[in-house]
């Protein structure tokens, strides 16, 4: 028991977060390219995306909490979260520069907004994904 990988509450919560973000935003970006740049339709799609994300996350965490007693974060959880946030910062800052590049090339606000949204989503996926890697491989 001592050396094999042992999946705790925090790790399962991260899997739910990662799954929800990848699923919902993959659908959003696929649909937004299909419906074009109509601000009203994009606004509705974005609203639906946020609601879907909240519903999936809430449902996932309710099921998880029923099956496994929630645990408070300890020092290892906080260390892993800090390191993952650092990784996410690099992705977010790179995305911010890319969005500035898009703006400098005089693209429409639609593309600038989606470059920023893409950076935020990639940073969140990096944050949760990094944590899962650190939980599995360990942190020295």
């Amino acid at each position: 028991m001592s050396s094999e990988h042992d999946v705790g509450f925090q790790e399962k919560s991260l899997w739910i977060t990662l799954f929800a973000n990848v699923l919902v935003y993959a659908y959003y970006f696929w649909r937004v390219l299909a419906i074009g740049r109509d601000p009203a339709r994009v606004g509705v799609l974005f609203g639906q995306t946020v609601i879907a994300l909240i519903v999936i996350m809430a449902a996932g965490h309710i099921v998880l909490a029923v099956r496994q007693k929630p645990e408070r974060k300890d020092e290892r959880d906080r260390t892993i979260a800090m390191r993952a946030s650092r990784n996410a910062f690099y992705v977010l800052s790179t995305g911010a520069w890319a969005a500035l590049g898009v703006a400098a090339m005089s693209f429409e606000p639609f593309w600038i907004a989606h470059a920023i949204l893409g950076a935020i989503v990639l940073a969140e996926v990096t944050r949760t994904g990094s944590q899962l890697v650190y939980y599995r491989r360990g942190v020295a």
């Binding site: 001592s2 020092e75 290892r76 360990g138 020295a140």
Partner: protein, 76 residues
């Protein structure tokens, strides 16, 4: 993974076969964290290292040892 090695499993065995959960409860951490420390996948903070030694009633260096990198400089 880490150069800090430990004897926690052995010390648990000698402490009336204390379980990881019992040790985790004493330390205020999750069982997964005790498992990660024991499996040398996580180096605890100095404060937690002292707490672990305190639980077993032994000095710190009887719980943890450090393996210096080869060719590394030693302190003066």
């Amino acid at each position: 993974m880490t150069r800090v090695h430990n004897r926690i499993r052995e010390l648990r065995f000698h402490a009336h076969e204390m379980t990881q959960q019992q040790l985790a409860d004493r330390l205020g951490v999750t069982r997964q964290t005790v498992n990660a420390i024991e499996g040398e996948k996580y180096s605890p903070t100095l404060e937690m290292a002292f707490q672990i030694a305190h639980v077993f009633g032994v000095p710190l260096d009887q719980v943890f040892t450090y393996e210096a990198p080869r060719g590394g400089r030693r302190g003066s």
